[in-house]
């Protein structure tokens, strides 16, 4: 280690970053914990000089709140569905992209476009694709003007149109739309990481496998995937963390009602729950945030533990 003659110099150089971090990261975290344990905390009344008891009241309230369980279920469900699907799809696309030479750059750019596009905008486009524009859909005298491109395709192949996101749509139709949208949105980053990983694998492993007469499938399962496992672990872990923070995608499609017309809050998530409480029940929001943190922490630990066992080199 380099011993400086003037250790205070280092602190001066670090000071701007440290001050900003203290104000905007460290203090909010501490404050969140503080608010979470002050029963019934609300900033408005706090300004008015109200005193709060210290205790687990906020946590109790969160857990007893009827919306909380559905928020948790929605979040978990979306995570469990989208992370594996998007990871596997991204892996396949990355392997294919890596295998072709012509147009590789162009396709890489196309696949990366969603990443640099605003997710609300994408959500609106998706909503339009799944939307049924018309009046009083589901009622007896409905007038459907267009059923949305997805339904058009389904009908073209002889299926019946599905009410994906409009009033009267089923929960599973809503979830399907969300899964498609979230997977599509998550792909670019994963493809980018996995493609980078693939390109950094020494070509000689493939030559060696070829000389040894290895089938394509075995090359994929025994060489590509294991050598890519650190990247896969990274993509899965960040995927889960991102998945637990799912919020804007649902706003993108369903608007800030977080559900189809007539059934608001049906697709609300953990972050949505926190935002809802944020307006005047900061104590409850903080408690929910801590619970979410706990869940993400545990899941990430499990992920790390599993990936340590599986990624071995």
């Amino acid at each position: 280690m380099v011993e400086s003659k003037h250790p205070w110099k280092a602190w001066i150089y670090l000071a701007p970053a440290i001050v900003l971090l203290l104000i905007f990261t460290v203090w909010p975290i501490i404050n969140t914990v503080r608010m979470a344990f002050l029963e019934g905390y609300s900033s408005m009344s706090a300004v008015g000089g109200m005193q709060y008891n210290f205790g687990f009241g906020n946590f109790k309230q969160v857990l007893q709140y009827k919306d909380f369980l559905s928020c948790l279920t929605n979040t978990m469900l979306l995570c469990v569905l989208t992370v594996p699907i998007s990871t596997i799809l991204a892996l396949l696309i990355a392997v294919c992209l890596n295998a072709i030479r012509p147009l590789q750059r162009l396709l890489q750019t196309i696949f990366f476009l969603p990443y640099v596009t605003n997710s609300i905008a994408i959500g609106m486009v998706f909503a339009a694709m799944f939307n049924m524009v018309g009046s009083a859909f589901g009622s007896e005298n409905e007038i459907v003007i267009t059923a949305g491109i997805i339904n058009n395709v389904i009908e073209f192949f002889g299926g019946t149109a599905v009410n994906w996101i409009n009033a009267g749509s089923t929960y599973w139709a809503n979830i399907t739309v969300m899964v498609v949208y979230i997977v599509w949105n998550a792909l670019p980053f994963k493809i980018l990481i996995l493609l980078g990983g693939l390109q950094s694998i020494n070509k000689q492993y493939y030559d060696a496998a070829k000389v040894d007469g290895t089938s394509r499938r075995r090359v994929f399962t025994k060489i590509t995937v294991p050598l890519l496992s650190p990247m896969l672990a990274y993509v899965v872990i960040t995927g889960f963390i991102g998945g637990f923070k799912e919020y804007s995608s649902i706003v993108g499609i369903f608007g800030d009602d977080m559900g189809p017309t007539g059934d608001p809050r049906r697709l609300n998530t953990m972050v949505g729950f926190i935002y809802d409480a944020l307006a005047n029940k900061q104590g409850r929001a903080s408690a929910a945030a801590l619970i979410l943190f706990g869940i993400i922490f545990v899941v990430t630990m499990i992920n790390l533990y599993v990936s340590k066992k599986k990624t071995h080199y």
């Binding site: 492993y205 030559d207 000389v211 007469g213 075995r218 060489i223 071995h312 080199y313």
Partner: protein, 367 residues
Amino acid sequence: MKVVLQNLTKVFPGRNKKVNEEVVAVNDFTFTIPDGKLIGLLGPSGCGKSTTLYMISGLQKPTSGKIFFGDDDVTELSAESRGVGLVFQNYALYPHMTVRQNILFPLQNLRGKDKLNKNEMLERAQKAAALVQIDNLMDRKPSELSGGQQQRVAIARALVKMPSVLLLDEPLSNLDARLRLQTREEIRRIQKETGITTIFVTHDQEEAMSISDMIVVMKLGLVQQIGRPQDVYDDPVNLFVAKFLGTPPINVFDGRVENGRLYIGEDEVMKVKGVEDQPVTVGIRPEGFTPDSKGRLVCGLNGVEIMGRDVSVVSTHPASLNPVIRSIINADNKIDTSAETVKYSLKPHKVFLFNKETETRIYFEVK
């Protein structure tokens, strides 16, 4: 199995499409590698020796020409179906597998009638590992092995499927000097024990000479000379081969032939019967010099390096094309190190004449 290369040619297209600069990596290579021999492909980097090896393995397709294994034409066969064993320069061991898994890998690829059951596989892997003496390291990962051990694993992996041909790409270049010496003998031993036709690529002439049954000297895609190492050393066909083989390297002089006598500079050094009068390039092996008070080649003495059994005399001559002349002389010959000059007589069979322009050998009668 013998390997026949017939007019083998590999042309790489130029990288710049506007300028048509093709690279001929291997040019019209014809050679029959006899069954069960160890062959060294030798040449400076960029001479096409690795390309030749990769064409034999099937990883690269020749532009023209044919490759036969025994009597079978394998030119169009892919690497998967040729059944060669290939050891890469940096071994290419799968880092996520143990030594055992690495060695088993080629066996697990076998399908159809060649398919082995688990015990047979383990037995074969164990045998291959024992052959290269790594059977005590079977549960290690490649990252836990030294370079020499990794190389043995790579050889075991190549040998385990009992290939008809074993190919080694610069097998010793990643090892330190002592290990290199040991490993090259090891390669020789393994090759002798298995009797597999083995082709290896190297830029180190000493390595090639010491263990090969035959060496192929290449330059810029063209085969210069093929033969037993000693024969090539004693009888090089051109100046390139003469210069490339031997440590210390051959000493090269400007010279001329007049009336059947060879002149180096102004010194008339020996008779060369049957050579027309012409300017020549003269190559003299370091061991071709004998200190002799009546010697005709007079050189300025720079110093003497003691090597125990031999001494290496460093001297200069105005006609020398190298900065210094290095000769190897038996230590019994006492050299007066305080003298200004040293006089040599030459051993005729260690002296080679080359055409000044084409650098091809000019033969003369040695009595």
